[in-house]
């Protein structure tokens, strides 16, 4: 067992790469499962050795990629606390919030070569849980949209405002309305614990989705 600090091996970059890849797959799957977009734009692709549904729409894909491109530096520096996919109805009121709570251990202990395969297995389990989250969630009203929120630690957002990671893709401070949901219930989906990263996935669902 080798114990290394965060600075070693560019630990933050490794975790950021893995997490951003996973978040891209997870966002596509949530959009497919929760029927935010019609299922016709999705096609099966392979990730973590299992088939997953990914969107073919170029603008949607570009939006998701740009979003995660901006989130990556925050994850590298361990400044991102949560990444939230909010599904909103036509009035821009959130009906569901898929919360990915991310925490990185300060010390990385590399146990063996199976580290990445173990992480892959855990991520595969999270993907499977997202696939069957239909059973525990109510149906969403038609015409929903989505957005991505990032909860950061301390004053990381100030740096984000100063430095535009991607041109013409500004980040704004989220409205209170989008952040907090009234009358919501918490539904835990999956907890993942590995040497690289700890992640919790739960859903905040509004009690009455159809107003």
């Amino acid at each position: 067992m080798t114990t290394l600090t965060r600075q070693d091996l560019n630990f933050g970059q490794v975790v950021a790469d893995i997490l951003c890849e996973f978040l891209e797959v997870a966002i596509h799957l949530i959009l497919y499962v929760r029927e935010v977009y019609p299922s016709g734009i999705f096609q099966k692709k392979k990730k973590y050795n299992v088939p997953v549904q990914m969107s073919c729409h170029p603008e949607l894909n570009q939006y998701i990629q740009d979003t995660l491109h901006c989130v990556k530096p925050l994850i590298e520096k361990n400044e991102a606390e949560k990444v939230v996919i909010v599904i909103m109805d036509k009035e821009r009121h959130p009906v569901e919030r898929f919360v990915f709570e991310i925490s990185q251990p300060p010390l990385l202990s590399i146990s063996s070569e199976t580290l990445l395969s173990h992480v892959e297995q855990l991520l595969r389990a999270v993907i499977l849980k997202i696939s069957v989250c239909d059973a525990v969630l109510d149906n969403n009203p038609p015409g929903c949209t989505f957005t991505v929120l990032v909860h950061t630690r301390e004053a990381a957002t100030r740096n984000m405002e100063k430095i535009q990671v991607i041109k013409d893709f500004p980040w704004m401070v989220a409205d209170e309305q989008e952040v907090h949901m009234q009358g919501s219930r918490l539904i835990p989906l999956k907890t993942m614990t590995s040497d690289l990263v700890k992640m919790q996935l739960y859903v905040e669902e509004r009690a009455q989705k159809t107003s």
Binding site: K44, S131, D134
Partner: protein, 448 residues
């Protein structure tokens, strides 16, 4: 049947929100797949009868004969419960229907079913068929001894395959090498007794393509026969066996051929340098001769009737280079007017000729004299003490009538008259011997 399995399935489905497939259930509980299918059926049946609030969704595996694209085929498909009846009507007859999975969520695509079984099978990879209903009596794991045998067979077969594939490409090269080695070996058979070590392999090389050539070598004069028999003494008895062995193990010999002809060439080169102190240009001439010799036996390989003629040809050719090389040496020495090498006594005849030659010098005035560049070889002593022959272009004056006179200005430079005589003798010999070969250089000596 024990009822505990029902509680287990209930826990998996409702508490863990898991998709329970029959394969996953059989691996988790350690039961046969057919028993797992029955378990799922019983659980589903009980839940439907009890009227539980939480609706359950099930998928079924249906297999049967159906007509698809105009042809009758056996179809196996996993369908959702709402499409089960529709699939049943399409199949005639329906061979098998059983519960594939039970879950709370409605399955939208098959990827979740695959993901469910993926990790279960991966964790039990070594014995994933332990509870399977698919069996083959012939599929038995091999014993360690059988595995070793197969590995050995694969190792021996793989290099043979590689060599055989390259055999066609190397065959022509191997033949040329074989001929070279044979020709060179024939020339230096008396001296190369050390080559007996590789004689068996070399014999094989020869036997492969040159059965008649081996016979020709054996029929050489007695002086060479003893040395030759040192090579071929043993294999003469085993000729047939060697040929058969060659046919069988052609791949192995091809690799050996590429090595040994090279070994044969090296001592031949060294002998040339030691015996006659020649330069590479002369060694090249010999090589060319050897190659020309090597080519001829190839023609007679397939024809045993021509062995006698090839014997004679070989005898002649083997002798020629020696005489030619010796003549070349003397001619080279003679051609260097500026640097005399050896001193020999002259003869009265040569003196007479020498006296007669200057008379020709009297009459050059009335005749046309021209200058031309001629390639001549000059010998000189190297720093190491070796005699080096260089080919140099020199301008000479010549007349149309008397080409011989051109040699006079150079001959007069020689301080020792004996050398002139020797030079003329050698020139004569050279002219006579080389008239058939190199007309360009010694052409002007022919008229004598």
């Amino acid at each position: 049947m024990d009822e505990l399995y029902l509680d287990n399935i209930d826990e998996y489905i409702h508490d863990q929100n898991q998709i329970v497939t029959y394969k996953w259930l059989s691996l988790s509980l350690g039961v046969h797949v057919n028993l797992a299918k029955q378990m799922l059926y019983h659980y589903l049946d009980r839940c439907r009868k009890d009227g539980s609030k939480t609706p359950l969704h099930a998928t079924y595996l249906v297999s049967g004969k159906c007509v698809q694209n105009g042809s009758l085929c056996h179809k196996v498909s996993v369908v959702r419960e709402d499409k089960l009846e529709d699939m049943k009507t399409r199949m005639d007859p329906t061979i098998s229907i059983h519960v594939y999975s039970i879950q709370k969520a409605e399955i939208k695509d098959s990827s979740t079913l695959y993901s469910t079984d993926y990790d279960a099978v991966r964790d039990n990879l070594k014995h994933c068929n332990k509870y399977s209903a698919i069996h083959c009596a012939a599929a038995v794991p091999m014993s360690p001894t059988e595995l070793e045998l197969i590995q050995e067979i694969q190792q021996t077969s793989s290099p043979e395959k590689v060599s055989k594939s390259g055999l066609t490409g190397h065959a022509s090269v191997a033949k040329a090498n074989v001929k070279k080695s044979q020709g060179i070996m024939g020339m230096f058979a008396n001296k190369n007794t050390a080559k007996n070590q590789g004689s068996n392999i070399e014999v094989k090389l020869e036997k492969k393509d040159d059965a008649p050539s081996v016979e020709t070598l054996e029929s050489k004069p007695a002086g060479m026969a003893s040395a030759v028999n040192n090579f071929f003494g043993k294999p003469t008895k085993k000729q047939d066996k060697c040929i058969k062995k060659e046919a069988e193990s052609s791949a192995q010999s091809s690799t050996v051929e590429s090595k040994h002809p090279k070994d044969a060439e090296l001592p031949s080169k060294s002998d040339d340098v030691k015996e006659k102190a020649l330069k590479d240009s002369k060694a090249k001439r010999e090589k060319k001769d050897v190659r020309s010799k090597s080519k001829r036996p190839e023609l007679t390989d397939s024809e045993d009737e021509k062995t006698e003629s090839s014997n004679k040809k070989k005898r002649r050719r083997i002798k020629k280079p020696r005489s030619d090389s010796s003549d070349d040496d003397e001619a080279a020495i003679a051609d260097s007017p500026a640097k005399p090498t050896t001193v020999t006594t002259g003869s009265p005849e040569s003196q007479v000729k020498e006296e007669s030659l200057p008379t020709l010098e009297v009459f050059p005035e009335g005749k046309k004299r021209k200058r031309r560049r001629v390639l001549k070889s000059k010998t000189s002593v190297d720093e190491e003490g070796c005699i080096v022959t260089e080919k140099v272009y020199e301008s000479e004056s010549y007349s149309e009538n008397d080409e011989v006179v051109t040699s006079q200005p150079k001959r007069s430079v020689l301080p020792v008259p004996g050398k002139k005589e020797e030079g003329r003798k050698s020139a004569k010999r050279q002219a006579s011997n080389k008239s058939s070969k190199q007309v360009s250089i010694m052409g002007f000596f022919q008229k004598k």
